[in-house]
Symmetry: D2
Subunit: 114 residues, 4 copies
C-alpha cells in the first residue's frame, strides 16, 4: 500500500490526538472511580495522556489508542456499569507532526504575541 504521506502511512502508522470522555450510566452520580480505571488502561497501554476536567487527551498510534478506548468500555462494564456513553474526538493530520503540547504551545504563542 502506498503511504499517504510520511506522517500518515496507510495501513502502517497513523498518529492521532484524541480526547476521550467516558460516561457510565446507571451507577449513580459519582463516576470518578470509573474514570480512574480508564486512566489506568491508558497508562498500561503505554500511551501519552493527560486528564482534564471534562475528559482525557490521548496521543499515539491510531490502533493503540482505539484498542485502549475499547478496553475502557470493557473495564467500566466489568466494574458494573450496564450502560456507557463515551465521546471521542479524533484529530489526524498528514502535513506535519504535532504533539498535544505543540497544539497548546501554538495557541499560547499567539496569545503572547499580543
Amino acid at each position: 500500500m502506498k503511504p499517504i504521506s510520511k506522517y500518515f502511512n496507510e495501513g502502517l502508522l497513523m498518529n492521532v490526538i484524541a480526547d476521550l470522555c467516558v460516561i457510565p450510566i446507571g451507577v449513580g452520580v459519582s463516576v470518578s472511580k470509573y474514570v480512574a480505571e480508564c486512566e489506568r488502561v491508558l497508562e498500561e497501554a503505554g500511551l501519552s495522556y493527560r486528564l482534564h476536567a471534562y475528559g482525557t487527551n490521548i496521543e499515539g498510534d491510531w490502533d493503540k489508542v482505539m484498542t485502549a478506548v475499547k478496553e475502557c468500555h470493557e473495564r467500566v462494564h466489568q466494574m458494573g456499569a450496564e450502560r456507557i456513553s463515551s465521546s471521542l474526538k479524533l484529530g489526524t493530520r498528514i502535513d506535519r507532526e504535532q504533539s498535544m503540547q505543540d497544539k497548546i504551545d501554538s495557541v499560547q504563542t499567539k496569545l503572547d504575541q499580543r
Copy 2:
C-alpha cells in the same frame, strides 16, 4: 475469557451504537463530498448507518465500526484533506440489546403517552 454478559462478550463481540461526524480542515467550506465518501465507507463495510444533519448514526460490532472510522480518516486524507477532526459518540450496554431504531422508538413512545 469470561463474557461480561450475553450482550457483551469480552474479546468476542461488543455491539455499539455510534455517531460519527468527520470534519475535513483546510479544504474550504464545502465538505459534503468528504462526508459522502464516509457514507460509502460505511456502506462497503456492511454496517447499518443513517445520515443526519450533523453526523451519521452507525450500528454494529465495535471492531467493524472502528475499522470503518479509521477507513473514513484514510480516505478523506487521500482525497486531499491534510487535517481532519472527527467526533465520535460510542454507546454500549450489557443489560439488553438495543438498535438505533429502538432508541428512537423508545423516546417516541414516551412522547405519544402524554
Copy 3:
C-alpha cells in the same frame, strides 16, 4: 453594530444548526423519558428539530436554541436527575443560508452522482 454578513448579523440574528445529546446521570439506564421531555422543550420553543438515534438536530436562531438547551437542563433536573452531561454541536456559517435538510441533500447529491 455592523452586521458581519447578511446571513450573520452580529447581535441581531445568528442562525445555527445544532446537535444536542442530553445524558441524565444517576437515574438508571433508561433515559428515554428525559430525552422525550427535551423534545417537548424544543417543540414548545417553536424550533425545527429532528430526533435521531444519538441526539437531536436543531435549527434556528442562536439565542432561541440556547434558551431551549438551558430549559432542557432545567427540566431534566426538575424531573429528578441530579447530574446531567450534555454534548452540543454548533454549526454557523456566514457565506450562505443552509438548512438541516440542505446539509443532508448536499451529501445525498454527491452519493447519487457516482
Copy 4:
C-alpha cells in the same frame, strides 16, 4: 420561581462546567490564532478556563458561559472564517458544588488509592 436546589436556582443561577472546541472551517489547516481569540473572549468574560490539547475547560454561570461561546463564534467569523463547527460539553449538577479542579482531584484520589 422555585429554586430546584441551592446549587441550581432555576432562572437565577446555574453553574456549569463546560468544554469548548471551536473549529473554523475553510481557513486552512492552522487554526491556533482563532483558538487564541476564543481564549481572549473567555478571559475578557471573567470566566475560569483552562486550555488543553483538544479544547478548553470553562467553569461559571450558565448564561455567562453561553454568552462567551456566542462571542467566540462572532469573533472567529469576524476574523474571516466563513464556517465554524464547535463542540460543547455541558455538565450541571444540583446535588453539590463541584469545580473543574474538584473533578480532576476526585479522579486523582482514586488513582492514588491503589
